[in-house]
């Protein structure tokens, strides 16, 4: 039978009331919405119905065999849906006989809350012919308006087809029983037959009713013998998970009799039992709960290639996965267990067929694969990851988070197929990985997983060209993410001579599939001979390519347009010869045009560069960057309470954010006060934003309205200062603050040695604040009195040039005189810091490195015993977010040379410098000379990238700007808020199905390996512009990702 012969409802039945309403209101515009037929679906199962020859015992087609319209095994439809359509044995059209009527698929969509099953139909045809209009909701009751669903029971939670393909079985949590639906009674074209739905009580071996609530159900594999008449009731076994009974029961679907069970005992043991057991009567009001594993999810796979039937079981309160071997009768024979790492449970499982791992031929190659045979369980775990275990050869959980830096040299595909968790040979994990499981990217928590496969594809490797085995994961934020299990269209191994050609994050199993095209694209162009040669101006393909700088590194100085950027730290540049233009130039090491080995080392793990994002390196910048629109690493500006007493000053924040922010000793806090342009809005009740008349800083301070003026004298030093305080002790909720001394920015990194040196460097610093050539510069008379001395407000070990004073007037703006030295803030009287105070936290004497999506990475944790903020000894060396100008020497240049980090090294730096005329500072030309020189550099690595910041210090210029002929040693030039902005693009992007469910509670593999996503829907009111879906079902084809059907 075709889909057109299904019972259907005249659409006018819906439209009429709307028209009446419209007429009553005098509105001539008829508005109709999209009819919504589903109501919060949660599960789906499939049937096949149509013409069937009843072939009798001989199994062959005879003209005398009756032909009926009937439900039948899925095989009846599957054969017709092959690329070259076929027929099951006995179902061929016979010469001289009428052709057998067509068959079609039916999807039975379970709706839990209303307790109904909706029906949709779709044709049995090759998926390549699908247009996206094939799946349509059918009507189970044409006598009632609307497309009606079938009432089946109370709170059904799962649906499955029986072995014969003639009945659907639901497991009902509300009534603790099963319901059996006669498929034929629902989808036949006979309006006189009502849907035949029968409740089946579940009984144990003694015949007593088992009233446990089911959580999941699967059926034994369907028959592939097409040609038998449908039995009166369901056939075969269903496996039902009963969490509170701690069992998975094998139940005869037609009778409800339990024939066996897998029992998870309170003591942690597992046993296979017969049907002689009882359960707490959850639907009958008897029996207290007992302890034990709670099985809540099942998957059953028959693998005809290797002749196995296996049942996977997950429990939501246990890290153990259980795999049960089933016999030919589908009853349990034996079991094995794999323990997942950590204290997790499992909420959904998917069992793969046995897979031959490896290969890139464009076809599944299970029998000849070089990596050997594996069978995987994908398990959605309660830690918000998808865990993977091999349940065939290793019997172990696979670590999906191995850092690709460590596997570039591996050539054993079998080893790459599953790195056993905890195995000594398993390389370290990615920095920041929460565990061994697959972590979705910006997709919420995983909800459900299914495994599908695509046999072959002749397309070139690319994100949308799926060949091999894949997991499909739905998640709370509505995404449907695709994970590579065995991509048979991409080479398995990385090659040093083509480092971007086969990248580990794309080749290794159990990785989220990347959606970005042409990851191996190079900066090349064809020359006149049509030979690809390197070029230097390439920026990468607009819709793909590898990670790279999107435009240029922006360097921002805080000193107004003095042209001194050239002497400040920057990102290393490399020499580049453009063979098309035949020119020499330089490119950033993070540019697309950098050599591919450099690019591979710069971005060694595609997956770790989770976003296309802009990184900023700000000298003494804030440790947090959240504004009102995002929540990544905490607000840049927070509020706390300043406690002053006994000469001590503390900043208390009861929300205890300091360790989480990554504060370390000798960072500093700035009391930011209030913004007078906001009036008093920044202040609390009864407070005003007071700005001292002598202040050279823009910020005001919140003071009580009635005492602000009288406090202006008492608080003057505090109010006119920049209110910067060094942090000497760090606790999760309290910082100990001391006034930060005013130090000359050009103090040598190795420390000053004399007051005279400080005086000279003060003059040099004054030069840097101008755009002048040294030969044109005369230092001003009043440079302040800078003395070489210890600075207790900064890291110990060196002396620094500190400005000294006798009174405030001796100090630079924003600093005040205290005990003979100029400080950037004083310990104020308590009355000057009433109520709550705003503050920011800053990296001391280092760049703060923050990604606009990643935030500030750091290794600081709270010591649970003391509350102090300490470095986590187990933290990855890549979890670093500060880049100082002094670092220990690097120990190697390899992918895995991660410590120390940051580290100091010497690199070549290629750059263009001005060429001056003899005896003057007039430039010969505007372009200057391209030079390559050795440069000191600080190498910085985080999970996403590695780069070198060159020139932490500058030797000074002798005569003209940028001549580098000065003799200064270790003298830095950075000042607060000098910044590098590094926009990186082509970050990892998860491959996702192009569908938009709201709450995709379940994903199921359907006929012809199609993937069905069950969306429980929303109810966003129409009046606020939302779309009320009440749930929907999506079908997409993994071999043709653009072919999507939507059922609502």
């Amino acid at each position: 039978m075709s889909t057109s012969s299904l019972r259907r409802l005249a659409p006018a039945a819906l439209a009429l009331p709307l028209a009446v309403v419209a007429a009553a209101c005098g509105n001539t515009t008829t508005t109709t919405g999209t009819p919504l037929n589903l109501d919060r679906p949660v599960d789906i199962a499939f049937g096949c119905y149509g013409g069937l020859r009843l072939v009798g015992d001989n199994g062959t087609a005879d003209a005398s065999d009756p032909v009926v319209e009937s439900a039948q095994p899925l095989e009846g439809c599957a054969q017709r849906a092959l690329p070259t359509p076929g027929r099951p044995p006995g179902q061929e059209d016979l010469t001289g006989e009428s052709p057998i009527p067509t068959v079609g698929y039916y999807a039975f969509i379970l709706e839990s809350v209303p307790g109904t099953v909706a029906v949709a139909s779709f044709p049995a045809k090759d998926v390549s012919e699908f247009l996206g209009i094939e799946v349509n909701v059918a009507d189970a009751d044409p006598l009632t308006p609307g497309k009606n669903a079938i009432a089946v029971g109370d709170l059904p939670v799962a649906i499955a087809s029986d072995r014969a393909g003639c009945h659907m079985v639901t497991a009902n949590a509300g009534s603790c029983d099963l319901s059996v639906i006669d498929i034929g009674s629902v989808v036949d074209d006979d309006t006189s037959t009502k849907p035949d739905v029968r409740a089946i009580a579940v009984t144990n071996a003694a015949g007593d009713e088992v009233l446990a609530r089911p959580a999941a159900m699967v059926a034994e594999p369907p028959s592939t013998d097409v040609g038998a008449a449908c039995p009166d009731t369901a056939e075969g076994l269903v496996y039902v998970a009963y969490p509170q009974c701690h069992r998975v029961a094998a139940i005869r679907a037609g009778t409800g009799e339990i024939e066996a069970s897998i029992h998870f005992a309170e003591d942690g043991t597992v046993e296979i039992t017969d049907g002689d057991f009882t359960c707490p009567a959850e639907c009958g009001g008897g029996g207290a709960p007992v302890a034990g594993e709670r099985p809540v999810t099942l998957d059953l796979v028959e693998d005809k290639r290797v002749g196995t039937r296996r049942l996977a079981i997950g429990a939501d309160d246990s890290p153990f996965l259980t795999v049960v071997e089933l016999g030919a009768d589908s009853l349990p024979q034996s079991f094995s267990r794999v323990e997942l790492e950590g204290d997790v449970g499992v909420i959904d499982v998917a069992l793969s067929p046995q897979i031959g791992m490896g290969g890139s031929s464009g076809s599944i190659n299970d029998d000849i694969a070089t990596g050997g045979q594996f069978q995987f369980v994908y398990a959605v775990a309660t830690d918000g990851t998808v865990r993977v275990a091999d349940v065939l050869s290793l019997g172990a959980e696979c670590d999906t988070q191995v850092d690709p830096r460590y596997i570039r040299g591996l050539t054993n595909v079998r080893q790459l197929s599953c790195f056993p968790v905890g195995d000594a040979a398993t390389p370290p994990r990615r920095a920041g990985a929460k565990g061994p499981g697959i972590e979705l990217v910006a997709a919420g928590s995983p909800l459900s997983v299914a495994i599908t496969w695509v046999d072959t594809n002749t397309e070139q490797p690319g994100p949308d060209t799926l060949v091999g085995y894949f997991a499909v994961v739905t998640s709370t934020s509505g995404q449907t993410t695709i994970v590579n299990i065995d991509d048979d269209n991409y080479e398995d191994l990385w090659h040093a001579d083509d480092p971007l050609g086969n990248q580990p994050a794309l080749a290794v199993p159990h990785q989220i599939r990347d959606n970005v095209k042409d990851r191996d694209a190079l900066a090349i162009a064809n020359n006149a001979d049509e030979v690809a040669v390197p070029i230097c101006s390439a920026v990468g393909p607009s819709d793909g390519g590898g990670p790279r700088l999107s435009s240029s590194v922006e360097r921002n100085d805080t000193v107004a347009d003095t042209g001194r950027i050239y002497m400040k730290p920057g990102v290393r540049r490399l020499a580049c010869h453009d063979e098309i233009e035949d020119t020499d130039t330089s490119v950033y090491e993070i540019d697309f045009s950098a050599p591919q080995d450099v690019r591979d080392q710069t971005f060694p793990d595609l997956r770790a560069m989770r976003f296309s994002e802009t990184w900023t390196m700000i000298w003494e910048g804030t440790l947090s960057r959240d504004d009102f629109s995002q929540s990544i690493d905490g607000p840049a500006e927070r509020v706390g309470v300043v406690q002053v007493g006994g000469g001590q000053m503390h900043l208390d924040d009861p929300s205890r954010p300091f360790c989480a922010a990554g504060v370390e000793p000798y960072d500093f806090a700035v009391l930011t006060g209030c913004d007078p342009s906001n009036g008093d809005a920044d202040c609390g009740l009864g407070m005003t934003c007071y700005v001292h008349p002598d202040a050279t800083v823009a910020a005001g301070q919140c003071l009580p309205i009635d005492t602000a003026d009288s406090l202006s004298g008492t608080c003057r030093s505090f109010l006119v200062s920049e209110r910067r305080y060094a942090i000497t002790e760090t606790d999760a909720g309290t910082l100990t603050l001391v006034p930060r001394r005013h130090v000359l920015p050009t103090t040598p990194l190795s420390g000053c040695v004399s007051d005279q040196q400080c005086a000279d460097l003060a003059a040099y610093d004054a030069l840097l604040d101008t755009g002048m050539h040294p030969s044109d510069f005369t230092p001003p008379d009043d440079l302040g009195d800078w003395r070489c001395m210890a600075d207790p407000s900064r890291t110990a070990g060196i002396d620094r040039c500190v400005e000294t004073c006798a009174e405030d007037a001796d100090c630079d703006d924003g600093t005040v005189c205290q005990s003979g030295v100029c400080v950037e803030g004083v310990v104020p009287p308590a009355a000057c810091v009433p109520g709550v105070n705003r503050y920011t936290l800053h990296a001391g004497e280092a760049f703060a490195v923050l990604g606009d999506s990643t935030g500030f990475l750091h290794p600081i944790v709270e010591d649970p015993a003391t509350g102090a903020c300490v470095k986590d000894p187990d933290a990855s060396p890549l979890m670093v977010g500060r880049l100082p100008l002094v670092a220990p020497p690097c120990t190697g240049d390899g992918y895995t040379d991660l410590t120390p980090n940051p580290c100091s090294t010497t690199v070549t730096q290629t750059e263009r410098v001005p060429q001056y005329k003899a005896d003057s500072c007039d430039r010969v030309d505007a372009s200057g000379n391209l030079i390559t020189r050795d440069a000191q550099a600080i190498r910085f690595q985080n999970p996403a990238f590695r780069l070198n910041i060159v020139d932490p210090t500058y030797p000074g210029d002798a005569r003209c700007r940028e001549d580098r002929e000065g003799t200064l040693v270790d003298v830095p030039t950075v000042k607060s808020n000098y910044s590098l902005t590094i926009p990186l693009v082509a970050g990892f992007l998860s491959e996702r199905a192009a569908i938009a469910p709201v709450f995709p509670v379940r994903v199921v593999r359907g006929p012809e390996n199609s993937v069905w996503v069950i969306d429980e829907g929303d109810n966003i009111p129409q009046q606020v512009g939302g779309t009320n879906t009440r749930g929907q079902v999506f079908r997409f084809e993994p071999g043709y990702l653009g072919k999507i059907n939507v059922v609502q």
Binding site: R40, S112, V113, L155, A173, G174, P280, A281, G285, G286, A288, P289, R294, V296, G345, V346, I347, D348, T382, G384, A443, G444, S445, S475, T476, S477, G478, F628, Q630, S631, P635, R638, V639, G640, V641, D652, D653, P654, S655, R656, P657, F658, C659, A660, G684, L685, G686, A732, G733, P834, G835, V836, V861, E862, P997, V998, F999, G1017, D1018, V1024
Partner: protein, 437 residues
């Protein structure tokens, strides 16, 4: 109906006695709160149709409730004033006066939505009631010795006086009045403060609750949440405290931000407390449109404060948020699971009655309570039919009961939570005889 009453009122003026609310009835019950020892249930009647001149807070003796339920379930006993429910015969419907502590109630302003309880020690309590009609934050003391509420020096069925209706910040005429539409309330008895949210302005108000003195509106912070780009509306809705840690979480009706607050008394233990707005995070992992879920109408923390349940209306979902310490001394604040919910969810309670923690969500539109098991994937475990317009939900782990105010039928439904009982998750008693509004 309201219009009809207004017309009637215009035709002839009713006397104050005629519009005084009954002391023995529920009328549009909204907020519920249980005493810390789970012996008392306080019920707010909102007077939402303005039939009377005020709302009320009544006190239900939960021991009497249990005695009635036990007798009903074990022997089918129906005391005087009680009758078997006509449509659901497993339910006993009783006149609410039977359970009221006589003379214990007080009168408040209209449109009270929620209430919360401060433990003053020795069985003495203080109720904090956001009253939208005044608007005010009204406080009412419960005397263990007298077994009655008090919010005025008057005798009889007291109407809360001005001293008990906090309407001005710090009681200072030079400071602002309390912001309109006070809605949600949370009391931290240890910190001696209450936090009140304001439904239409994105504002929160901090109330100082000195046990030996009158409460004071101590601090206020506005502009917390972005306004809805379509409607322009904004508002703070639910509030709850994480213990240990003392952080309070506030949600919005118009965006998916969850704002945390700490409280400090910079001037010392006797000084007024101040609010410190802390970190915020977004419910950005549930639902489409970049996972945003908003109109969060309920928050409740599980035991130990390691997880929070957040009840959203858009999309209708209950999100489970990991609020455990992340090793950095800070809550993780990560959504770890979620489940679909009924539409128009209105109340949320969390309790462990002996079989693990469960969340109970009242469904105003559907007249149901969803029972949600947070284990594993956060699943709807059961759905109980409750009554018309279920609103507030309060659980009593000790008594293994759930109390639900039914706004449209003037009852409080009592649900049996006893694990394994035939009546588990079913209404066994209605306090009040159901009626049409």
């Amino acid at each position: 109906m309201g219009l009809g009453l207004a017309l009637a009122a215009g035709a002839c003026t009713a006397s104050s006695e005629e519009v005084r609310p009954p002391a023995d009835q529920l009328f549009f019950p909204t907020g519920l709160a249980a005493s810390p020892d789970e012996s008392l249930l306080f019920v707010m009647s909102a007077n939402s149709e303005l039939r009377y001149d005020s709302g009320t807070v009544q006190v239900i003796d939960l021991a009497t409730v249990d005695e009635t339920i036990d007798a009903w379930l074990t022997s089918g006993e129906r005391p005087t004033g009680c009758e078997r429910d006509l449509t659901l015969p497993g339910i006993l419907d009783c006149d609410e006066a039977r359970f009221f502590i006589a003379g214990a109630g007080v009168r408040t302003g209209n449109f009270g939505a929620n209430l919360a309880v401060q433990d003053l020690g020795g069985g003495n309590l203080r109720l904090v009631v956001p009253v939208r009609g005044d608007p005010s934050v009204t406080w009412i003391d419960w005397s263990a010795a007298d077994r009655k509420l008090s919010c005025s020096s008057d005798s009889g069925f007291q109407l809360c006086d001005d001293a008990h209706r906090l309407t001005r910040m710090r009681g200072d005429d030079s400071l602002p009045q309390v912001v309109s539409e006070p809605f949600g309330v949370y009391v931290d008895s240890t910190a001696e403060v209450a936090m009140v949210t304001h439904l239409t302005s994105g504002t929160v108000t901090l109330v100082d609750l000195p046990p030996d003195g009158p409460p004071v509106l101590a601090d206020v912070i506005g502009g917390l949440f972005a306004s809805d780009p379509t409607t322009g509306a904004r508002g703070a809705t639910a509030v709850a405290g994480r213990t240990p840690g003392g952080l309070m979480y506030v949600t919005s009706r118009t965006e998916n931000r969850v704002q945390t607050f700490a409280v400090s008394r910079p001037g010392g233990a006797d000084a007024l407390p101040l609010l410190l707005a802390g970190d915020y995070f977004f419910l950005s992992r549930v639902g489409t449109n970049a996972g945003q879920s908003s109109d969060t109408r309920g928050i409740a923390f599980g035991a130990g404060g390691d997880r929070a349940y957040m009840m959203n209306r858009e999309p209708p979902s209950l999100a489970l948020v990991d609020t455990s310490d992340d090793g950095l001394g800070f809550p993780r604040n990560e959504v770890t699971g979620a489940t679909d919910l009924c539409r128009e969810a209105s109340g949320l309670a969390v309790a462990d009655v002996g079989d693990g923690e469960r969340a109970y969500v009242s469904c105003f539109q559907d007249g149901e309570v969803y029972v949600i098991d947070p284990r594993g994937g956060v699943e709807v475990e059961d759905i109980a039919t409750i009554g018309r317009g279920p609103f507030s939900v309060v659980a009593s782990p000790t008594r293994r009961r759930l109390y639900v105010s039914n706004f449209f039928e003037n009852t409080v439904a009592v649900v049996d939570l006893t694990p394994g009982a035939p009546t588990q998750n079913r209404v066994v008693l209605r306090i009040g005889l159901p009626e049409d509004q």
